[in-house]
């Protein structure tokens, strides 16, 4: 299959379009500007919907509208913009309407800067908006995975009627890599039992998160949790690399997993048995596989472009069976291969 040298952000667009995206709603913010620019051209040429919304709030709520009718819809932004989308994400979770939201992370907090970062892990995996809910979170680490995860996220979002976030970063979004378009174009979609498509021949439907009747909201939350348990059971995805005999296991996702992999290869050359577990879904998190590898003689090292967020989940997974160390940089700083290697060597002592 021929390869295309394209940016992660463009690969993402191609994946979504191939998955049958009906509508894209966006707003400019660096480093995800390629997405609305590309969509404004290709979606319109294909006779599909593109709107540059007046705000991130609107863009996310337009996704809600389109997906309320069962039509595949997506929005993308970067960290400060994702904060604004949290309102709609909480509603989508509560209303059980699917949606795909892409975060090409930049440095924060606040306006931060435009460099790639990974400091929105907590926001993405622990809720972000109000209420007891989870968002399924994919963490691509290449342009190829931007394409594939964008494609796959719609099926998952619809299967569970829940919002899916693709948590990328400025580096993965901006970099070009050869990408294989290895997914079939999706053209036919099954009718959805919940979609608002006009009440011809059936009772009217409503989508709502407001449940005022005694006990109704609590029951709704119990039902949502059942669904989340189902997702945890079925949808955990990760990559595992030379972890079987490893004394030091790195846990890293997205861009930092690539940097960390370089470091662990160098460590292996020095005779240090290092391996890696790379979560491809951050929620549900691969607790089980991490726990399975924890134990005497094994140390964990979490590498992130943040001040330490995912490391908390790694500690939960390890559950005291192994020491868990952290190395990271924040605010758009990029951790070097050498720094990770040094840390591995230090842990080996």
């Amino acid at each position: 299959m021929s390869k295309h040298l394209i940016k992660g952000n463009i690969a993402l667009c191609e994946g979504a379009i191939t998955a049958g995206l009906s509508a894209y709603f966006g707003y400019p913010i660096t480093p995800q500007n390629e997405v609305p620019a590309y969509m404004s051209n290709k979606m319109v040429k294909m006779g599909r919907v593109f709107i540059q919304a007046e705000s991130e709030l609107s863009a996310a709520n337009m996704v809600m509208g389109a997906y309320a009718t069962g039509k595949r819809a997506m929005t993308s932004s970067s960290s400060p913009g994702i904060s604004l989308k949290q309102e709609a994400i909480s509603y989508l979770a509560g209303m059980e309407v699917p949606g795909v939201i892409v975060n090409v992370q930049r440095g924060g907090p606040g306006l931060g800067n435009i460099s790639g970062s990974q400091s929105d892990y907590f926001q993405a995996t622990k809720g972000g908006g109000h209420g007891d809910y989870h968002t399924i979170v994919f963490a691509p680490n290449s342009a190829q995975e931007m394409y594939e995860m964008a494609y796959d996220s719609f099926d998952i979002a619809e299967k569970y009627r829940t919002p899916v976030m693709i948590l990328s970063d400025g580096i993965i979004g901006q970099m070009m890599e050869p990408v294989e378009f290895n997914r079939q174009e999706k053209k036919e979609f099954e009718k959805k039992s919940w979609a608002l498509d006009g009440c011809a021949g059936r009772e009217p439907r409503s989508l709502q998160s407001l449940l005022m009747k005694d006990g109704a909201l609590e029951q709704h939350n119990i039902d949502l949790q059942k669904k989340y348990e189902e997702i945890k059971k079925n949808e955990v995805k990760y990559d595992i690399y030379e972890a079987e005999d490893a004394e030091i296991i790195i846990v890293a996702y997205g861009i930092s997993s690539r940097i960390a992999k370089n470091a662990l290869k160098l460590a292996r050359q020095q005779g240090i048995k290092a391996g890696m577990i790379r979560p491809k879904t951050l929620w549900p998190f691969p607790y089980e596989i991490i726990n399975k590898h924890a134990g005497q003689g094994v140390k964990f090292l979490t590498v992130e472009l943040s001040m330490g967020q995912m490391v908390e989940d790694v500690k939960l997974a390890v559950n005291g069976k192994s020491p868990v160390e952290f190395i990271g940089r924040a605010g758009g700083g990029v951790i070097t291969v050498q720094a990770v290697l040094n840390k591995i060597t230090e842990l080996k002592k």
Binding site: G170, Q174, M175, V334
Partner: protein, 179 residues
Amino acid sequence: MKTYNEIIIAGFGGQGVLLAGNILAQSAMEEGLNTTWFPSYGAEMRGGTANSTVIISDDEIGSPIAFNPSGLIALNALSLDKFLPRMSENAVIIANSSIINEDDYKNKNIIFIPISEIADKEIGNIRAANMVAVGALIKALNVPALDNVLNAVKNAFAKKEGLSELNIKAVKAGYDYKI
């Protein structure tokens, strides 16, 4: 790993450093190698320097950011000053002597080529300077192969009449420049 190069191409915004990187990555891909391209972007590009980083490897590529660059094209002095201290030992450094004063960099292992002059006088278009530099770089690095680079240039300018020939000529001029 037999082949592993981290290449930085830097210059003023408008000197075509993003495209030059793109051509290198494209030709590496055609050569069957792994490659990544990473740009400077956003406000970073307003004034001062722009740059792109290309990594070419026969193995899986980790970071797309260069921590140990082995190749540099510096189209202006600002870029040379910025990246010179970051270069690895024995790195191939190509600098544009048309607008960089060689005397300021004595005893440093830099290949000075009058890149802008070659583009302007020999090729007839100063905007082809980036391609002259690409030609010189691939000669010195020995990767990617000239044919693949020329092919990538041809494809990149396929829709623009005449530009394809001009840029191919520019790459060749850089490649053939006697250091």
